[in-house]
């Protein structure tokens, strides 16, 4: 699936402003640098001229101390042949400004807001440059190395200041319009603009702003939706999050890789194995550590079981959100059975810390494989039970058919991946397209929807549950003998200096960890490319025109986990 290294440099041929062309470490990712002024032209040529239609990563990292400043990192993928390209832009300390690319991908807008928030980089032409994970009035840019964390974390006066107001989530954006030709208009309305447009006259209903706030009945964690409503109809919707920002990326810079593995379990807390796998994939790539065949199969087994637990949790939330309380009881029964296996194998129900560089922590306990096999054979019948409750249920169909339709263009525009993308017919699955762990040995059937509504996303996830059970059984049957971890890997891994970007297919989509190492035992920069972050920010484009009840159904089909969105 990946183009051979001999054509590595040809991808950039003919594009002006590109230099330092090469390959990212030992991976097939082509990397190049460009300047802020040339950035838009280069990316536009890559997207429009050379078919790199998927924006995979948009982040920043601190440059080394000799050259102070911030380095912007962009990664795009050409899905037809799987070519991956990474662009870096070096910004000096006194000129942290770069043109926005949210004219090319609307999904770049929230990613750039995050970089603005955490690094202080100003994106010229961005229409809504406000902080996204921190409070609007938070002083400083935490991910800069100059921002030192206090040893006691947050102290009493910080807390008193935080409690004194709700922060100002509606503060004025800070657009940099120094060059009007760079200004971008996003394809969805903003709440503030929509409210201003309503002068209150006439006989139609007045518009109001409603907070579907951080604490609400639907099971989506601490998500905050700002809605401009006219009666029951949504005119504009905006997403605010950051209520669960736990400084994971900054804390990772102060911890050893083993501790970081334990920490990132808590990012995507419903399915911790995937973040561990993405992180360790990067570590193993940088440090050139081989993973034993048995460990590769164990990783596949654990990942597929984890996909089952994640989808059963999603199904519980999906049912409750449209008013069906019963599916939760049954799906949690299955989830508990798998969590019992997790506890037996890894020691933890939800926070595993099971993968290690070079393999896994321990082998399957005696007898676990047989019991797991017996259990997995019953999963299909359980899923038939869930389908009996929901799939042909007229109420469920009325709530989900035709609701929240996302065309493939919207999917690509916002960088949506995973079951949401497959529900709209976009045929992408990283397990099959870029096999990692032992997935190359498996025949993976990928379910696709064709309408892209909420019902299709539901059906895709149900089909994926069946497929996961099948893959887990295959992993058990085909598991080779041998060591479960490569011997000789040091306890405190010190990967040589370099960068790696490893992606896995998590239940929410493309989960990647961009890792930069400076040769020490702590990462220099660890960025989690959260699939739910990109998936969530399609909401402002999809919610308008629907009703309040539809919002809940749509958000449940997005399957957000706030832990990985806010990190």
């Amino acid at each position: 699936m990946t183009a051979p290294a001999t054509t590595a440099v040809n991808v950039f041929e003919g594009i002006p402003g590109v230099f330092d062309v090469g390959v990212l470490g030992s991976s097939p990712v082509r990397i190049a640098s460009t300047t802020p002024n040339a950035l838009r032209g280069v990316i536009e040529e890559l997207k429009v001229g050379r078919g790199f239609t998927h924006l995979s990563l948009l982040t920043a990292a601190e440059r080394p101390a000799e050259t102070p400043g911030v380095k912007m990192v962009y990664a795009v993928t050409r899905r037809q042949d799987g070519t991956r390209v990474m662009l870096t832009v070096d910004l000096p300390e006194d000129e942290l400004r770069v043109p926005t690319i949210c004219g090319l991908w609307s999904g770049a807008a929230p990613l750039e807001r995050e970089v603005f928030d955490l690094f202080g980089v100003v994106f010229l032409g961005h229409p809504n440059l406000r902080p996204i994970v921190l409070r609007d009035d938070f002083p400083g840019h935490p991910l800069r190395k100059a921002f030192a964390m206090k040893p006691t974390g947050v102290d009493a006066e910080d807390l008193a200041w935080a409690l004194s107001s709700h922060g100002d989530n509606g503060s004025e954006p800070t657009p940099e319009m120094s060059d009007p030709s760079l200004a971008v208009k996003l394809p969805y309305p903003f709440v503030a603009d929509v409210m201003l447009a309503d002068d209150g006259s006439g006989l139609h209903a007045q518009r109001e702003i409603l907070n579907m706030g951080p604490q609400h009945p639907s099971m989506h964690g601490v998500l905050h939706l700002w809605l401009a409503l006219e009666g029951e109809t949504v005119i504009a919707g905006e997403v605010t999050h950051g209520y669960l920002h736990r400084c994971i990326e900054k804390l990772a810079e102060t911890r050893s890789y083993r501790a970081v593995t334990a920490l990132v379990d808590r990012a995507d807390y419903v399915s911790g194995f995937f973040t561990e796998l993405a992180l360790l994939g990067g570590v193993e790539e940088l440090a050139e550590i081989e993973v034993t065949p048995k460990a590769q199969y164990l990783r596949v087994l654990m990942s597929e079981l984890c996909r089952l637990t994640s989808h059963t949790t999603w199904m519980a939330a999906c049912g409750i959100d449209v008013g069906a309380f019963t599916p939760m009881l049954f799906s949690f029964r299955d989830r508990e059975a798998i969590l019992d296996f997790f506890e037996e194998i890894t020691g933890g129900r939800m926070m595993f810390n099971y993968f290690r560089p070079g393999g896994v922590k321990s082998d399957l306990p005696p007898g676990a494989a047989d019991r797991l096999r017996t259990y997995l054979k019953t999963v299909d019948a359980s899923i038939d039970g869930y389908e009996a409750l929901l799939t042909n249920n007229e109420i469920f169909r009325n709530r989900t058919r035709g609701i929240g339709v996302m065309t493939p263009e919207v999917i690509l525009d916002f960088g949506v991946t995973g079951p949401m993308a497959r529900g709209s017919g976009v045929n992408v699955d990283l397990r099959r397209d870029e096999p990692y762990a032992a997935y190359g040995d498996f025949d993976i059937r990928v379910p696709l929807g064709h309408v892209g509504d909420t019902y299709d996303r539901y059906a895709v996830r149900i089909a994926e549950m069946r497929e996961s059970a099948r893959l887990a059984l295959q992993a058990l049957d085909g598991m080779p003998e041998g060591d479960f971890v490569t011997p000789g890997v040091p306890r405190a891994v010190k990967p040589p200096a370099g960068a790696a970007y490893h992606r896995v297919e998590s239940p929410r989509g493309e989960l990647g960890v961009y890792l930069e190492s400076d040769g020490t035992a702590q990462p220099w920069r660890m960025k989690i490319r959260s699939p739910a972050f990109s998936n969530l920010h399609v909401a402002p484009a999809v919610l308008p025109g629907g009703r309040i009840g539809d919002i809940i159904a749509i958000m449940s089909s997005v399957d957000v986990v706030m832990g990985e969105i806010d990190r």
């Binding site: 209520y243 804390l251 808590r266």
Partner: protein, 175 residues
């Protein structure tokens, strides 16, 4: 802690001592928690409500509005952005109200305690009755905490909120 103490400004007019036992029994056996799940512990809180552990047989029924809730289970990390919302929701609950701090993050900040954005324990913001350590705590541990709160309520003991209010009054601090 800068929480609005909600002083009870008028005791009941009729002597209710004979009824107090009945009222406490009723309150204790219909403990309705407010769903305030922030992070990973929220998933374990959902698990406690599911069929294997089943809180509903104890009369515990999760409510979404603080007006209808008796107790608030803070399940997950509290950071500077959500801290004022926690405070406001707590103040919007009526007495008697209990708070269970579930998970290491709510107890003391947990694995993120040295973060620049993480409050080290929700008891920096609101008075807490029961602390449940664990990351995440097992569902049985949360169940134990809920049963402890129910026992306290049935026994008519003061909740941490009422103790805090009484201390406030004793200090002469006005609203």
């Amino acid at each position: 802690m800068a929480v609005d103490p909600v002083i009870v400004d008028e005791e009941s007019k009729i002597l209710v001592a004979p009824l107090q036992f009945l009222m406490n029994w009723a309150r204790g056996h219909s403990m309705w928690p407010l769903t305030f799940g922030t992070a990973c512990c929220a998933i374990e809180m959902m698990t406690v409500g599911s069929a294997r552990y089943d809180t509903e047989r104890y009369g515990i029924f999760f409510r979404n509005s603080p007006r209808q809730a008796d107790c608030m289970i803070i399940a997950g990390t509290i950071n500077l952005k959500i801290a004022p919302r926690v405070k406001l929701l707590y103040e919007q609950m009526s007495l008697p109200k209990y708070v269970i701090a579930m998970g290491s993050c709510a107890v003391s900040g947990g694995p993120f305690a040295d973060g620049y954005n993480v409050v080290q324990g929700v008891d920096q913001i609101i008075p807490v009755d029961i602390y449940v350590p664990g990351c995440p705590p097992r569902p049985e541990a949360l169940m134990n905490a809920l049963l402890m709160v129910m026992e306290r309520n049935s026994a008519g003991e003061l909740s941490a909120a009422e103790v805090f209010a009484a201390e406030h009054r004793a200090l002469g601090v006005s609203e």
